[in-house]
Symmetry: C2
Subunit: 568 residues, 2 copies
């Protein structure tokens, strides 16, 4: 490839709309251009990186017996009705009518399509287990598109679906896929990607993991133990919590005028927040009764954990007028007239004693409540958000908070889709059974952006050899006296027969050539300049600037080969 | 790959919905499954063929300096408004609103996206010429989806866009691309694909060619000279026509009561249809006045040719009451009171003499009209449909009609998109100029189907080595006495290290294995059976049944290598 013909302008200025490093370099290096909010065209260098990432993914999926297929982008709404997601998923799912008036959706994930295909083809236990995957365009009408390729509305995704006849078989394959993911991220140049437990969200199922690249631009919080290998995202993280008060107290009603918040109550009564109990009230989708969560005063409810417990989408409660028996601002578990409300106690309260709780009447609290002594049949669940520095649930280490970007996720779906869509196979005992599924995703464009986040310097991306758009970049510095092009072409032709080479043949200064080369981030660079040529030499360097040396013109091929081997 | 794990049922019965050979085999061989009307999922064998076709296309596009990019599937409506196509294109263009209420479309072709990307990146004449291409999903809400992958609503397409600073440069590149297309079709196994002149349709532009695979299931008519290499589709075909009458006649009004059709008039007056003139009346979109076309009585108007002449969409005329001065059924060019009508004469009339024409009053015709003598300022255009057997426009051969399927098309777009979308570059003279474009498409799935149409026998597809899903198919026939699996595995492991191999490891009869192997259509087959093994031999055959021989077990690798080389 010649730089003079490469489509894509590179530039120096930081683009106004970009804040993350990857977004800045993707624009400045001529990798992507926005077509509209969250929708990008890829220019040749980015497309080349994407193809290489896709090939790595393909190889690793094939290595664990994956079979590549292709599902449609546009899917019939009726298929999504079978799984219940046509109505359940919000406006991130694009719906449209075809010319015949039929409901269609743009696939944002392909569980329905995978079950549709597999349910007519895998009717005997002999066909199991199997995994099918595709690398295909997806559309998700994301309200908060941002960060260049980090969070977009249209993206290329590898999505895989495995089908099993037992939970054990799913678990064994899930572990294989988890290891394949580690290999993919390592080969793509981000071996530091961590695997954390995660919530299953709208996918359903029980066990899930996310692969996170730790980076300050990440919008997810990752919880990592500073001592053992416990890693989790916020939605499922737990921690050990010392009991705040171990001695019983005496029950006593106290006047707390206008003290609505925990801070106000604690101040007024001279205690710390962890010696109080607070009530949080929610509405549950599809339920009339309010959901009351009691939790220790110093903690926050984690809504993702809570939703999993109550199996419903929750929103803050607002229908105060419908529940005159609940005394908002002064609600407590002791002598509560909650009628039809659903009540949950966070695990943090289980062993607490001598707590200040709401008095269930305006301007009154009650002191001295011990949960185990004073509250009957409390229903305990872990719905609290972990705190930074809290004790690890697995050891005595401390939990640290990190920022991360999700580059892949894997789910044990169970029978969530196979059952709702009526997929069965005939088992060896002659009976019809429902297959158990797993699904496994990687966002290709986001992975590209994450590689830049992890591998760059102040001048541009530093592509790992495995995914670099080209392997060798030749800069031919122009001269008025010497015909540098002829020498450049000779090196270019030699190296092109073995490697992917781009040559800067433009009549521009060395500064522009070097700046552009840094933005293209090619691992090996050959600089052909008049001064060195007089000594019969060219300059050889690596993009990360760790190697920089003069080599004999005759040794270029050998030296480049050695450098490529070293960097591969 | 092991057949026991390959996803996809194969079956014997002809599927009710399929009529074309490719559709039947795609279903019977477990290649595709319909998700909804005109939308398919590809199973592993089809996906493998598609990937190979894509790689051939990619190599040939790269060889003519193409740069691979990726445009979005979902595009902003505003971009299509810039080119005028948001409103101009009918309901085959899917439109939807995003969550912010903005108009979006699903790309059915990407001229707008290509200009959007290129117009910010190619601002100097130095950047030209260049070609960018993508291989991406397209959606076209086709009213007549049919024939399996022949005419679908969602499909993978290679679309390329070239940008030039002169018409000559475009034409030279267009020819290069045309040759690349011939190489692609030859490499994909359909070298008999023909290139015909075609209409530019909704793409705009002036010159266009279609690549057609001649097959009885084709819905297009191709006109081919039986003597020279003239090839055209119906929309632009022309032919030479001998003059029907060379002698002048005398003008005479004749009473022709109730003779409305050419047949009725000719019968009544005892002449053949080629000695009459007929009038065809159309409405032109965006015009008030009617369009009257006079043409020789034995010919038909070709609407595509006519639309190109008048530069408007035409429909049959129906507003008779608005034009009382026109005497429908008896309209003729002589003494016609046509007022604001647009009048066109087909070239067939230019030299005709002594014609019967409408008398412009009810129940009367006029005999003896010579166009050159009696009609002033006639505006001649070729708008007639060619007839089978008509003389070739280039030689004295005869035109033959064939059926064909379009597998690719190329267009000289000119400035149709660059101008409407305001794309300019600065030329060497410092002036802003508008680039000249070409575009070049290949439907990948349709090409796959066409390969089956061209390469099959009564048992299934016969894949060319270049696109076959696997290169070698091993059938291991089960036996109660001998452990055939061990021997099969040994051959499988040996061959798999060099070739793409699928092995039938299922415990099914030879008949089922052979029928399935024929449906998978793999070029080279190795049959491992007990009887031959006793002699130390296995059977080696080609899918097209032209080679079938016993080879020594020790020679399998060598013999397979020779056969693959021969077939490649």
């Amino acid at each position: 490839m010649l730089m003079s013909k490469l489509l894509g302008e590179r530039f120096k200025e930081k683009p106004g709309e970009a804040t993350s490093i990857s977004h800045i370099y993707l624009l400045r290096g001529g990798y992507v251009r926005q077509v509209t909010n969250g929708i990008y065209s890829l220019l040749p260098p980015a497309k080349r990186v994407v193809s290489k990432i896709e090939n790595i993914i393909r190889q690793e999926m094939d290595a664990i017996d994956g079979q590549e297929v292709l599902f449609p982008v546009a899917l019939p709404g009726d298929l999504w009705r079978e799984s219940g997601r046509f109505d359940a998923v919000g406006s991130e799912l694009v719906r449209f009518k075809d010319r015949g008036g039929k409901d269609m959706v743009l696939g944002m994930t392909h569980e329905e399509a995978a079950v549709h295909l597999a349910r007519t083809e895998a009717k005997s236990y002999n066909n199991y287990p199997f995994m099918i995957y595709q690398i295909q365009t997806k559309f998700r009408d994301e309200p908060r598109a941002r960060g260049g390729l980090i969070r977009v509305r249209e993206f290329t995704m590898k999505d895989a679906y495995s089908f099993h006849t037992s939970q054990e078989d799913l678990e064994a394959y899930y572990e294989q896929c988890l290891q394949a993911y580690h290999r993919i991220f390592a080969r793509a140049g981000v071996p530091e990607t961590v695997c954390v437990q995660s919530d299953t969200g709208m996918m359903g199922g029980k066990v899930a993991h996310e692969f996170m690249l730790l980076t300050d631009i990440g919008e997810d919080t990752i919880i990592i133990c500073d001592s053992c290998d416990y890693q989790s995202n916020m939605e499922v993280a737990t921690g050990k919590l010392p009991v705040a008060t171990t001695e019983e107290g005496t029950i006593e009603e106290v006047h707390t005028p206008n003290a609505h918040t925990i801070e106000e109550v604690a101040n007024m009564l001279g205690v710390t927040a962890d010696k109080t109990l607070k009530a949080c009230v929610f509405e549950m989708e599809g339920h009339k009764e309010p959901l009351i969560v009691f939790i220790r005063g110093d903690l926050q409810v984690n809504e993702a954990k809570l939703q999993k417990v109550v199996k419903a989408t929750i929103t803050p409660f607002e229908k105060y007028e419908d529940t005159p028996n609940l005394c908002f601002g002064f609600m407590g578990p002791y002598n509560l007239d909650a009628r039809d409300a659903k009540i949950i106690f966070d695990e943090s309260l289980r062993n607490e004693k001598n707590l200040v709780v709401g008095g269930n009447k305006k301007d009154y609290h009650i002191k001295g409540i011990s949960i185990s002594r004073d509250i009957k049949d409390a229903d305990f669940h872990d719905v609290a958000e972990v705190l930074e520095g809290q004790e690890c649930p697995c050891c005595h280490g401390k939990l640290q908070f990190k920022r991360g970007v999700e580059v892949g996720n894997i789910f044990q779906l169970g029978t969530r889709y196979s059952e709702s869509m009526g997929m069965t196979y005939i088992d060896s005992d002659g009976k019809a059974k429902t297959p158990i599924m797993g699904c496994y995703g990687i966002g290709v464009g986001r992975l590209l952006a994450c590689i830049i986040e992890a591998r760059h310097d102040e001048w541009g991306p530093i592509w790992p050899m495995s995914v670099a758009p080209w392997q060798v970049h030749i800069c031919v510095l122009k001269s008025k006296k010497t015909d540098m092009d002829a020498i450049g072409n000779e090196i270019y032709n030699k190296l092109s027969s073995k490697y992917e080479v781009i040559m800067d043949d433009r009549n521009v200064g060395a500064g522009v050539q070097f700046a552009d080369a840094d933005l293209l981030g090619i691992p090996v660079r050959v600089v052909v300049g008049e001064k060195n040529l007089k000594e019969g030499k060219v300059e050889l360097m690596t993009r990360d600037k760790s190697v920089k040396k003069l080599v004999d013109l005759g040794d270029v091929e050998k030296e480049v080969a050695a450098l490529i081997a070293e960097l591969s």
